[in-house]
């Protein structure tokens, strides 16, 4: 591909990044370092000399690595199952697995508390079974809680990115290997792993970056003994207003992300190879023997339990009344109730910022739709440039930049928006456009990562054949590549949608209180005392889960009749 057309493809996405990422980030870093006596270097030196900062950096790195490893361990078997077999309820399992990804951290924390907290269902059950005085499971405020929450959140990334790629690999390769006498282990090590490597690398990178910048999970489930860089940035920027230190920490965080993405893009260019991707009807088989049925059943069951239990505990909590006791003679009697849901529709205090759940859902869906469209419009040209331009210098330089927004402190970037986007025509500080733009920054690398492997593995011969037959590049894209990557497009869309639905940027972006998304409405309820408020927060969380699962199912349905005629 010529440099000129490559540059053309990069133009819009780069312009977007320049305007909504580099410019705000640069502005806030510059302004912050200007407040430090020693400038940027002084602030960085001071940060690196601090023991607390070094500890935070070390903790951030190893917990992210460990979380990523665990996520792969849970996700890869699941990806295999979803990629290679057809069974009833599969799309439901996929939809269910993507629900955690969109839940705002206060909701996930509440779900884990409802299940494993001191008075959660598990502890209550064990206490009454074993006649214990104190709760036996001490889960919250521990490293285990952080790791479990990270796996809970991000397994869907592995399932989608790896599972989708896996499902299009030609099974004849394995059949050939078997016929040539390769053992199961050899087939796995010499065939499966190398072929899947690009997808696994892409998924691991995304998961790692998410865990690396983890904020809410650490705060709410890990407790005060654990602090990632992001938590330290928040404390320095918000509580102490030590902007130079916050900026230095953000820069350290950025350097880590950048190094990772550089390593990744070098690696992925080397790992990927053109393959003939097959439609899934062709690659997938039904569960025929009782052994595969049993294994698949166990695996699906384990995944189901892992994803459902916390969600179910939360849903159950939203219909269970645990009335605050006011007198001794009226002990707390848990009973089933729909009061919380009913109360959601009532503006009891005549509050100006009250919105009905339906309005909050509509606002959330509106933002999510805008994010999906924007992320696809920006992500497709980039993925295409990456796939067609291959290892061109432009690609090598620009590709690692894409993931930077994911690995950037949301607190810092939020302050950057305030500083940079403050004059017309770009005075977006209090504009309702700002949330979808911010969501797109996070969503669009996901779209690229979902599309690039698929586009890259479209065999050049197909395109060349089309060209020989007189198709223009645009026709080749529309008739050949798009149908092949239709599935990946939907995966990207599902990601963008999920990211926007769950984004909870209360501390990052300024908001017009008359347009609260569901997560913000939940947060409002959680910040007031009283059982009715907590119950309503649980009810609204359950609604968010349902809306998300429903939407993901709907997106999945879109693919029926996808380019499977290939």
């Amino acid at each position: 591909m010529r440099v000129k057309s490559l540059a053309l493809l990069w133009m819009a996405p780069l312009g977007f990044l320049a305007l909504f990422y580099f410019y705000p980030l640069g502005s806030i870093l510059q302004l912050s370092f200007a407040r430090s006596a020693g400038g940027a270097a002084g602030a960085l030196l001071e940060a690196l000399r601090s023991v607390a900062v070094r500890e935070a950096l070390w903790f951030t790195l190893w917990q992210a690595a460990l979380s990523t490893l665990l996520t792969l361990l849970v996700g890869l078997p699941g990806a295999y199952l979803l990629a290679r077999y057809q069974f009833r309820g599969k799309s439901w399992l996929m939809a269910l697995a993507s629900v955690p990804f969109v839940l705002p951290t206060p909701v996930v924390a509440a779900a884990f508390h409802a299940l494993l907290g001191p008075r959660g269902w598990a502890n209550q059950l064990l206490m009454s079974l074993l006649q214990l005085e104190t709760p036996p499971i001490a889960f919250v405020n521990s490293l285990a809680a952080i790791l479990a929450a990270h796996v809970f959140y991000n397994t869907t990334i592995v399932l989608r990115v790896v599972g989708d790629f896996w499902s299009r690999l030609d099974p004849r390769l394995w059949q050939a290997a078997q016929a040539l006498g390769a053992s199961r282990r050899q087939r796995f090590l010499r065939l499966t792993l190398p072929l899947l490597a690009p997808a696994i690398a892409a998924a691991s990178l995304l998961v790692f970056i998410f865990d690396f910048t983890s904020f809410g999970v650490i705060l709410l489930l890990g407790g005060p003994r654990f602090a990632t860089l992001e938590v330290a940035i928040y404390q320095q920027a918000t509580g102490l207003f030590n902007l130079p230190l916050a900026a230095a920490l953000s820069l350290i965080q950025l350097v880590c992300t950048l190094s990772l993405t550089v390593i990744y893009s070098r690696l992925s260019a080397r790992l990927s190879r053109p393959l003939s991707l097959r439609p899934r009807t062709y690659t997938q088989q039904r569960l025929r023997t009782w052994r595969t049925r049993l294994a698949a059943g166990l695996l699906a069951g384990a995944l189901l339990v892992f994803f459902t239990l916390p969600l179910a505990a939360l849903a159950l909590r939203s219909v269970t009344s645990i009335e605050a006791r006011s007198r001794l003679d009226r002990p707390a009697a848990p009973g089933l109730t729909l009061d919380y849901y009913r109360e959601l529709g009532v503006n009891r205090r005549g509050s100006l910022f009250y919105v009905t759940p339906a309005t909050a859902i509509a606002i959330s869906l509106g933002y999510a739709a805008a994010t999906v469209l924007l992320a696809l419009a920006l992500g497709l040209p980039v993925a295409w440039a990456l796939a067609r331009g291959g290892d061109a210098p432009l690609n090598r330089w620009l590709d690692p930049l894409l993931l930077l927004p994911l690995g950037t402190s949301a607190v810092t970037l939020g302050l950057g928006f305030i500083v940079a986007l403050d004059r017309p025509p770009l005075d977006l500080r209090a504009s309702p456009l700002l949330p979808p733009l911010a969501h797109t920054l996070v969503a669009f690398p996901f779209v690229v990562r979902s599309l690039a492997p698929a586009l890259r593995s479209v065999r050049p011969r197909l395109r060349q054949a089309a060209a020989v037959l007189g198709a223009s590049p645009w026709q080749a894209l529309r008739r050949i590549e798009l149908p092949i990557i239709g599935r990946a497009l939907l995966v990207g869309a599902a990601f963008a949608f999920s990211i926007s639905m769950g984004e909870f940027g209360a501390t990052a972006v300024i908001a017009r209180p008359e347009y609260p998304t569901i997560p913000i409405a939940i947060y409002r309820l959680l910040s007031l005392p009283g059982s009715l408020n907590y119950g309503q927060a649980m009810a609204l969380s359950a609604i968010l889960m349902a809306v998300t699962a429903g939407s993901i199912l709907a997106i999945d349905r879109l693919r029926t009749g996808e380019g499977d005629e290939f």
């Binding site: 928040y234 109730t337 469209l373 798009l482 300024i510 910040s527 005392p529 879109l558 029926t560």
Partner: protein
């Protein structure tokens, strides 16, 4: 659905959506320039916890032929920081939500213009912490240990009365507090201990609390809804607000005869948070901003605040809602620390606290 149609459809939708998302020809600028008689817009920057009745704002808008646009920008600290960072091109006309723990930072950054509201005369001197009236007190609230009444009745145990009591063995493992580095009530409680035991004695008190198995969590909602025995937890004493007991009654599922929680007020166990509002430098709507501040100090707004934000009015003439009168106690004496002392000591106290309690 065939994917070959999918793509053009996406683009069409994208175009439509972008068009629809264009901010509707925003009334403020248009009306301001074209017709001086039309409503003017006042924008009020505030924090996430701000709430107000629809009717109250409507009354102001009608009275002054104005429109009030609220903009929320995170918690109290984040809101102030954003106002400071945008001081060259202010986000709005008025900022509400600077509390006494952030007062010195706000004044040092010089982002507010003085305004001597005539209604300040009605406000007691203890709330007027800025002698130049750049920041005007609007409301206050107390952060105190709250306890679960039924728990103590069940166990036949007397609830704690003072901070010192919390060190007693019978209250071992009963208290949950918030991390002062991440939570505003957590910081208030740390300041309470500094005020009571001095800058050289508060760490010893915290060592005592740690020995008595205090639980520290990061946020108010985790402490209150997940660890406090009234809701999801096992600990019957939690740091919360003086207005939490009436809130428990108001947001009860079934009507309650008494509040399920009570507040420890003895021996200056509470920290008083006072919240301020001020006119941001560079505001184009100085007159309207003054009118809004007067309105915030007037009875109409002051009497609306308790049930909206669960804070107390600084105007002593404002009547409190029935639930507040019946179920909350306003402590006689609270922990005393001036905004300057807080600004000077905050970072060192936080650091020493982290090393003592968390490590």
């Amino acid at each position: 659905m065939n994917t070959k149609f999918l793509f053009p459809i996406f683009f069409l939708l994208a175009a439509l959506l972008m068009a629809a998302c264009q901010p509707a020809p925003s009334t403020p600028q248009v009306t301001q320039t074209s017709s001086p008689q039309g409503p003017q817009t006042l924008s009020v920057i505030t924090h996430d916890s701000f709430a107000v009745s629809e009717a109250v704002v409507a009354a102001f808008e009608q009275q002054h032929n104005a429109r009030v646009q609220f903009i929320k920008s995170g918690d109290a600290g984040a809101t102030l920081n954003k106002a400071i960072l945008s001081k060259d091109n202010p986000l709005g006309d008025v900022l509400f939500g600077v509390d006494n723990t952030f007062l010195s930072r706000a004044l040092a950054e010089d982002i507010f213009e003085p305004y001597n509201s005539p209604l300040l005369a009605q406000v007691p001197a203890e709330f007027r912490l800025d002698d130049q009236n750049r920041l005007l007190p609007i409301d206050y609230g107390d952060v105190c240990p709250n306890y679960d009444i039924a728990y103590f009745e069940d166990k036949g145990l007397a609830p704690p009365q003072t901070l010192d009591d919390l060190l007693e063995p019978q209250y071992k493992g009963l208290l949950v507090v918030q991390n002062p580095a991440t939570s505003s009530p957590g910081l208030a409680f740390l300041l309470t201990t500094v005020a009571n035991y001095g800058a050289d004695g508060y760490l010893e008190y915290w060592q005592g609390l740690a020995a008595n198995d205090v639980l520290v969590v990061n946020g108010w909602d985790t402490a209150y809804y997940s660890e406090f025995s009234l809701h999801g937890g096992t600990r019957p004493i939690v740091i919360s607000y003086g207005s939490s007991p009436p809130a428990e009654v108001i947001f009860a599922e079934q009507p309650l005869e008494t509040a399920p929680t009570a507040v420890v007020t003895g021996g200056r166990a509470c920290f008083r948070q006072v919240e301020f509002a001020g006119i941001l430098k560079g505001s184009q709507e100085r007159k309207l901003a003054e009118q809004w501040l007067d309105f915030m100090l007037s009875l109409e707004f002051q009497q609306d605040m308790p049930l909206q934000m669960f804070v107390y009015p600084v105007n002593p003439q404002a009547a409190l809602p029935d639930e507040f009168v019946r179920y909350s106690v306003i402590p006689q004496e609270t922990a005393a620390l001036s905004p300057d002392e807080i600004a000077t000591g905050r970072e060192a106290w936080l650091q020493a606290w982290t090393e003592t309690v968390l490590r």
